[in-house]
Amino acid sequence: MRRLIKQREVVLDEWRYADEDPVGRERALILPFARWKAEREQWWLWDGRLGVRIGPTDPVAELKNDFTRVGLIAIEFGGMAEGRGYSQAALLRSRYKFTGELRAVGKIQRDQLFYLARCGFDTFELPEGSDLDVALTAFDDFSVAYQGAIDAAGVHVQRRAV
């Protein structure tokens, strides 16, 4: 099973992506954004948990009425230079008040986790082979910050101190 970092702990992933077989016993499925949009009505009544995976150009505002059904949003990072996900996460947390699991997935590495976490991500799916125990230390790279940030509950943290 896939391992990932969730709220600063290494855990086994309960979720499956739609193109992964089989749907696990947990019945927790992550759909691509396009499929969610196309099949929204039929999935709404499904009895498992639902997540949506979005790419850098997908407008997060289109999910704002779905949070009662969608408990996880996975945001894709195509590479280290891909920075749209930071704004997508900030918008989901601060503007649209998404309180479910916000997952960063793709080509992310240890040294980005501090920034990602402060934008509201609480789950980190690093590329296969990454040393997750080493990555865990990244959250403590800095004990101070100049900006307010958004924690998972959408609460603004004070400036100049983490």
Binding site: A81, S87, S94, D111, F142, S143, Q147, R160
Partner: protein, 552 residues
């Protein structure tokens, strides 16, 4: 000048520890070259032609003498004895060893300095007017705002992986001495009809490929909305800016593509939508910052006749290299880093040490780096100018050429930079040799010559009155000449190409021909730029490409 508190210091110390760990992982092979690249750039470390290049941040150009001494020590112990001041008021070293960079950064941290965000696709050093706080025409001191922005931009979680680099300049005077109109964001302190002071906001200026002058997207922004508005601009840019092509990723390309009007609408919409969640103006914290910028303890003095009874040499220096100060009895003094044999902007370790000593003796222990790659003592007593001048002459920092043709802006070029198509330093030397008659230079008046070794435009060639751009033609160095660029005040403009590029050995001759045309057509004391604007490019073209030259 701003002094770190324990939070500022802790952040910089933790940054050093983080980078030391990243460097160790890279050297141990557990961090790939690609992954390390993006991390080292965020600490100002490039890999260049001969060695790494390390760029140190000088926030809005302010330095204390003890910081200058540490810069001297770095030049001596970790480099080949010199550093280079850039057009964004930073200093860079061309020869540090990769494995020593964490030690250099640790040393810098002991004097509240760092290399954070001097490169990479993030918000870079905030620059300002070198005469901030002492200029008579200033509405308000921009430096507390620069510091306020600096803190907000440092390790910003949302805006540290932008499509491309992002440069902000802030000015408080109507005369723009910070090239703010060619920045990604230019902020001008202005007064509105109600008498309140706020910001005029420009977006989308820039040099390099496709140089552009910034567009005003907000005529008046209340001060307390500054960070909220900057966040709106950056969020729109972060989400909408192009990431598929590095040459089209700057905000200027986005602004142009969707039009400034549409961009303004998107920013205003985001600004309104984020009203409840955007950073709130922290008045107490701003006041805390502002208190660091109170004027130094000036003596109560009168203006005196400094030039009376002095030599012509001194009077030339006084006229060219000193500027009016808003406090009676004081002058601002430029230290020219453009002497004939010196690569523009370069300074040695011993010169840096001397500068630190002289700053302690004559200018409250403070030094400024300028956008034009010179240094400045902001607060010198008029009755001490002669003594200072004599000391500066001894260390070759009194060349009386500020604002003249030989006060060139120049990038390191092909001698050092891996990006450059052509060298720029030998050209600076050749031009210096050709225009070595000071009286002639003074007669020519204000001319800004700016030179870049490639399209990236670190030497700001596109806004030089005379611009020189190095281009590569089948492996040979050629140079494209532009005329009529300007960053000044409200008449910022981009230079016009005069014709086919010229060979390396013909550049100095070409500049002389251009100057000849200017002299021939000049009316009274007209500036070069004004003559050019009046007569256009044709007369220059005719003379530069006249047959005798092509044969030469």
């Amino acid at each position: 000048m701003y002094q770190y508190d324990s939070i500022d210091q802790r952040l910089v110390d933790e940054r050093v520890a983080q980078f030391r760990d990243q460097t160790n992982r890279f050297l141990a092979g557990t961090l790939s070259e690609d992954d390390f690249r993006s991390l080292r750039l965020r600490n100002g470390l490039y890999i260049q032609k001969h060695a790494p290049m390390l760029r140190i941040s000088v926030p809005y150009g302010l330095l204390l003498s003890q910081q200058v001494r540490v810069l001297a020590r770095i030049a001596r112990e970790y480099d080949k004895g010199y550093g280079h001041f850039s057009t964004r008021q930073n200093i860079q070293y061309n020869w540090p060893k990769l494995e020593t960079v964490p030690d250099i950064l640790a040393l810098l941290a002991t004097v509240q300095m760092h290399g954070i965000q001097t490169s990479g696709n993030c918000v870079r050093n905030v620059t300002s007017d070198a005469l901030a706080g002492i200029a008579a025409d200033e509405l308000e001191d921009p430096r507390p705002w620069c510091e306020y922005i600096r803190q907000w931009a440092t390790l910003h979680p949302e805006f540290s992986y932008l499509p491309r680099k992002f440069k902000i300049a802030v000015t408080g005077s109507p005369q723009d001495r910070a090239a703010s109109r060619v920045h990604d964001v230019g902020l001008h302190l202005v007064r509105n009809e109600q008498g309140e002071v706020g910001f005029e906001v420009l977006v989308g200026g820039g040099l390099g490929r496709a140089p552009m002058i910034g567009h005003v997207i907000r005529e008046f922004l209340p001060k307390q909305d500054l960070l909220a508005y900057l966040e709106a601009i950056l969020r729109v840019y972060n989400l909408e800016g192009r990431r598929d092509n590095i040459h089209k990723a700057r905000i200027k390309i986005l602004v142009k593509a969707i039009t400034p009007e549409k961009f303004r609408a998107l920013v205003e919409e985001e600004f309104a939508a984020a009203r409840d969640t955007a950073p709130v103006f922290d008045a107490a914290d701003f006041e805390r910052i502002k208190e660091f910028f109170v004027p130094p303890a000036y003596k109560s003095l009168h203006d005196i006749d400094v030039q009376g009874g002095q030599t012509t040499e001194f009077r030339h220096w006084y006229r060219q290299n000193t500027r009016k100060h808003k406090v009676a009895g004081y002058r601002a003094v430029f230290l020219s880093l453009k002497s004939p044999k010196r690569p523009p902007g370069d300074i040695t370790d011993t010169e840096l040490d001397s500068v630190a000593d002289l700053a302690d003796q004559y200018s409250f222990g403070m030094v400024r780096s300028t956008h034009d790659q010179n240094l400045l003592f902001a607060d010198v007593r008029q009755d001490e100018l002669v003594a200072l001048w004599k000391s500066l002459k001894e260390i070759d920092l009194a060349t009386p050429n500020i604002g003249t043709l030989t006060d060139m802006i120049c990038c390191p070029g092909g001698d050092f930079c891996a990006l450059a198509n052509a060298r720029s330093i030998p050209l600076a030397e050749a031009i210096n040799e050709r225009f070595d008659d000071l009286d002639y230079l003074y007669d020519l008046g204000e001319i800004q010559l700016k030179m870049s070794g490639c399209m990236n435009g670190c030497g700001h060639h596109s806004v030089g009155h005379i611009g020189i751009l190095g281009v590569d033609k089948n492996g040979e160095e050629w140079y494209q000449i532009t005329l009529g660029g300007s960053t000044g005040g409200n008449d910022a403009s981009l230079g016009q190409v005069i014709g086919p590029s010229v060979a390396h050995n013909d550049v100095a001759e070409t500049i002389e021909r251009i100057i000849d045309v200017f002299v021939e057509h000049r009316q009274e004391e007209e500036r070069f730029l004004d003559t050019f604007r009046r007569i256009g490019v044709a007369p220059f073209k005719a003379k530069v490409y006249a047959p005798s030259h092509q044969a030469a």
